[in-house]
């Protein structure tokens, strides 16, 4: 049984890799069209407003590490941070990224530094714009709660590996401005659904790269995910019918 599961997993991975490569390398002049998602529109509005008003954006990357199961959420948070940092680096108060893991905080610093360098504003880069506010989930939440009032934050974006403690971060951010949140943890999604202005439910977090035009591979992987999702749905329904009929 384990061998069968292993081969199925390998097949899914190979198929997804092929789809990503095909969509990424296909010559297409326009970006693929996806359904409308208000959280990403709100992100663009908040980003512009914070730059104009000279206030700060807080990107909460969560307490997950790159070696844990929720490392994908941390990577998505970092790609979104690169887009936010590129646009926000010209602001008087550049975006701030917090994390509960040292490696993720280091990567956040690197992302911010590259964004500043691309905008020829390296002299304004501050390494502590990517920081650890606490080690562990609760420690991170306790430190990140105070980021919004201390750093003049008007928009809080929670994109990473957070659990139910995300509600504390979101509630603190909601007192100062808008909150956009998404995570892979189901408990975290529940907490953000209640507290955030624009929650991302389920795997909508993975769509951030495609909606923010990070690069074509993100759009390609989103299309590949959509195709595979339909295949999985068809497989589940089909197998359920077959099993119900007693054929399997």
């Amino acid at each position: 049984m384990d061998a069968l599961i292993g081969w199925v997993a390998l097949a899914v991975a190979v198929l997804m890799a092929a789809l990503i490569l095909a969509f990424s390398l296909a010559r297409r002049a326009t970006w693929p069209t996806f359904r409308h998602m208000p959280p990403f529109d709100a992100l663009a509005v908040d980003l512009g407003r914070s730059v104009e008003a000279g206030t700060r954006l807080h990107v909460a990357l969560g307490s997950g590490s790159l070696t844990s199961n929720d490392s994908a959420a941390s990577l998505i948070g970092l790609s979104t941070l690169s887009h936010i940092a590129t646009a926000g680096s010209v602001s008087d108060k550049p975006p701030l990224a917090t994390s509960g893991d040292g490696a993720v905080a280091l990567l956040a610093q690197d992302v911010l530094r590259v964004a500043f360098r691309q905008q020829r504003a390296e002299d304004r880069y501050d390494p502590l714009l990517g920081r650890v506010t606490g080690v562990g989930a609760q420690g991170y939440a306790a430190g990140a709660m105070h980021t919004a009032p201390d750093e003049d934050v008007t928009a809080t974006i929670v994109l990473g590996a957070v659990g139910p403690e995300a509600a504390l971060i979101a509630e603190s951010g909601a007192r100062r401005g808008t909150v956009i949140g998404g995570t892979l943890d189901v408990q975290g999604q529940t907490a953000l659904y209640v507290t955030a202005d624009h929650p991302l439910i389920g795997e909508e977090l993975f769509a951030s790269g495609a909606y923010l035009h990070v690069n074509r591979a993100h759009a390609a992987s989103l299309q590949a995910q959509d195709i595979l999702r339909w295949l999985v749905i068809a497989a589940i329904v089909g197998l359920a019918v077959v099993r119900s009929l007693g054929l399997l």
Binding site: A42, V90, A121, A174, R175, T178
Partner: protein, 714 residues
């Protein structure tokens, strides 16, 4: 020596530098006596060489007696008096003469033939008033008007005389741009239609545009100096090739619009010559062949132009390359020569192409090679070519332009910007909820009552856990994985203590490990509290604390391969049982794995990394109530990975009451941690239910009232 800041990149440069060392931007604008724009401080009055014409200007307009006005990056504006002086001179001159044509050569016409507007008799034009407030950066380079009528140049006198002879001069030649629609929309006013020469070709044959509405947009002050209606424009000679139909009709239209204005002979002759072979392929009606302009040498001859145009202190520009045909070189003033475009680093090398071979024959660019012909390629979507020039696009500017392009190209946002939320003045709602919850939890303890019934039905997964613990061997250790944070210990310790107590009652050895930094301490806390009732458990004998396992799933995978090597790697601590230590060299030696988690992902890691490596070892999970929906599938699967579960406080209470429930009272005969918390837990949950009910109803009612109020206002 004061450093000069580059206006483009902001880096400091030497004061005498012409261009920036870092970005090659020009530090000193071209023009006689101009001050560098990025100067750190304004230069002293005597610190620079100022041309005579400029010093004269300053003397005339400077408020300081006999002093030169300092020119800094923000040069002072010409005073009202100065502006009024030259305007009044123009006005006076215009009154004496016949009305000047609109836009035709005015007393202040520059070398390109572009006329400047005469002094207004009515309201002051905007440019004059704005010039008083804030002059443009080129103010320093703008030549000043002659001081008095006596200084009027010869050429101007000659032009005026000619005008008097010719009567009303014709309309201004059209600009070098594609002829706009003569509908009056978007057209420049009449007085701007100066008989200027196209930089490449000189005055064109087509008359300039004029609004179909006539003089509707001509300022009143200029109407005094406007020429009378010009004579009808002569039609083009029949030998001239037909222009494209569209442009031909436009040309006729424009020609007709200017039929009332008298066109000077030189313009007519220029038009006739321009009617000779014209390249109409793909052009916007502008002739490609060079058109002869009135001899510029006449205008540029020494003595013709005033001193203030010819005098200058700018460095001598590079000499003009003489073409091979022996054309007479135009004598350009130094300041004009300095403005000539030079070949930059991007100049094409090797065999010169068509553009390189073409030599400009007229105008101030006469004698230069590679001057672009006035062609406009109307190819949709084609980006303009990158021309070698002194224009230095900074990487920062290019990056900003790219960012702007990206922002513009993103789909239009449909989100409605909402106002920034005001911070809450007082958290009354939170305080109220807190007070209610705390009061509810304190009631059972304060009153000593116990009104909540204990769970009477024990879940199957809990029973299976109990059965599995009962069947544990005593020669193989049980692995206790404490993978929860201290925050979840209040809920999970109840079940963990009940199960551990059962394990110690059975007598199975225990080895504890954690993938969380505080897990080792929490495991020690559990064991300390449980060992109080089971003192036979000694560390190193039948209890081995393995400590912290770093790197999450990676560490678990290594642990599954060889637990001892993953944790210690070398020798065992002193006093540890050798048999127990030997059992730790393979994960298959464990009798069972008891995982205590609050996060479903942690259980998932244990199942995927460890249980798949040793599927023969049963796995039992103690999970929080919040994690139940995501962990139950592992138990209810067709091929379950979890053989038993204890869920939340209810599961702990049920486990504690196993075989100890009193049917009569409904209470548990054996008091445990869960039992002591049960009443407070019940009160708190009931309070939460009431808060949700009341608060939810209040929210709905409040929302309805607001909607009704809004509707009634509308």
């Amino acid at each position: 020596m004061a450093d000069v800041r580059c206006p483009m990149c902001g880096k400091p440069n030497a004061e005498e530098a012409e261009t920036c060392l870092y970005c090659q931007a020009r530090l000193k604008p071209v023009g006689p006596g101009a001050e560098p724009l990025g100067a750190a401080e304004p230069s002293a009055a005597g610190g620079e060489t100022v041309p005579d014409w400029l010093s004269r200007l300053r003397d005339q307009g400077s408020p300081t007696p006999g002093g030169t006005r300092e020119l800094s990056g923000e040069a002072e504006a010409p005073s009202d008096q100065e502006a009024s002086d030259w305007l009044s001179r123009i006005r006076t001159r215009a009154d004496d003469e016949s009305p000047a044509p609109s836009g035709s050569t005015s007393p202040a016409e520059d070398v390109f033939g572009r006329g400047k507007p005469a002094e207004p008799s009515g309201p002051v034009p905007a440019f004059a008033s704005s010039a008083e407030e804030k002059p443009p950066a080129s103010a320093a380079t703008t030549p000043a008007e002659p001081a008095s009528e006596e200084d009027e140049p010869e050429w101007l006198k000659r032009l005026r005389a000619r005008r008097a002879v010719e009567g009303t001069p014709g309309a201004a030649p059209g600009p070098s741009f594609p002829a706009p629609q003569a509908t009056g929309e978007g057209l420049p006013p009449d007085w701007m239609h100066a008989p200027h020469e196209d930089l490449a070709t000189g005055p064109t044959a087509a008359p300039g545009p004029q609004p179909a509405g006539g003089e509707g947009i001509v300022p009143s002050w200029l109407s005094d100096v406007q020429p009378p209606a010009p004579a009808p424009v002569e039609p083009a000679p029949p030998s001239a090739p037909a222009a494209p139909a569209a442009f031909a009709s436009e040309d006729d239209e424009l020609r007709g619009a200017y039929s009332e204005k008298e066109i000077p002979d030189w313009l007519v002759s220029a038009r006739e010559e321009a009617a000779a072979p014209v390249d109409v392929a793909g052009l916007a009606g502008v002739p490609a062949a060079p058109i002869e302009t009135p001899p510029l040498e006449e205008l540029l001859a020494p003595g013709v132009l005033p001193e203030w145009l010819t005098a200058g202190s700018s460095p001598t520009p590079p000499p003009i390359e003489v073409p091979g045909e022996g054309l007479e070189q135009a004598v350009l003033p130094p300041w004009l020569r300095a403005m000539r475009p030079v070949e930059g680093p991007l100049a094409p090398k090797g065999e010169p192409g068509e553009a390189e071979e073409r030599v400009e024959s007229a105008g101030p660019l006469a004698g230069l090679r590679g001057v672009l012909p006035p062609k406009f390629e109307a190819e949709v979507g084609r980006h303009p070519p990158v021309l070698p020039s002194l224009l230095d696009i900074q990487p920062a500017h290019a990056a900003h332009a790219e960012l702007l392009q990206r922002i513009v190209s993103t789909p239009e946002s449909r989100a409605v910007p909402r106002a920034r939320r005001r911070p809450q003045a007082r958290p009354w709602g939170g305080l109220a909820v807190l007070v209610i919850l705390v009061a509810a939890m304190m009631v059972p303890g304060a009153t000593g009552t116990s009104v909540f019934a204990r769970p009477s039905v024990i879940a199957v997964e809990t029973l299976q856990t109990a059965n599995l613990i009962n069947s544990l061997p005593r020669d193989r250790p049980l692995l206790l994985a404490v993978d929860y944070d201290a925050a979840a210990s209040a809920e999970l310790e109840a079940a963990a203590l009940a199960v551990l107590d059962h394990v110690m009652t059975v007598g199975a050895p225990i080895a504890s490990v954690s993938t969380r930094p505080v897990g080792a301490a929490l495991a020690e806390r559990l064991m300390t509290r449980t060992r109080a009732a089971h003192p036979q458990y000694q560390s190193g004998i039948n209890y081995l604390p393995l400590g912290y396992l770093p790197a999450g799933p990676i560490g678990l995978r290594a642990f599954a391969a060889n637990p001892w090597q993953a944790i210690f790697g070398q020798s065992a601590p002193e006093g540890w049982d050798a048999g127990m230590v030997a059992a730790l060299h393979a994960s298959s030696n464990f009798s069972a794995i008891l995982v205590v988690v609050s996060d479903p992902a942690a259980l998932q890691s244990w199942i995927e990394q460890v249980h798949t490596a040793v599927p023969s070892v049963p796995l039992v999970a103690i999970v929080s109530a919040a994690a139940e929906p995501l962990t139950r599938p592992y138990y209810e699967s067709a091929f379950p990975s979890v053989q038993g579960m204890v869920v939340g406080l209810a599961g702990a209470e049920a486990y504690e009451c196993l075989n100890a429930l009193d049917p009569a009272s409904g209470r548990c005969g054996r008091l445990g941690v869960a039992d002591s918390m049960w009443d407070s837990f019940g009160m708190a949950v009931l309070a939460a239910v009431l808060i949700l009910l009341v608060g939810g109803l209040a929210s709905v009612i409040r929302r309805g009232l607001i909607s009704m109020r809004r509707t009634s206002h509308e």
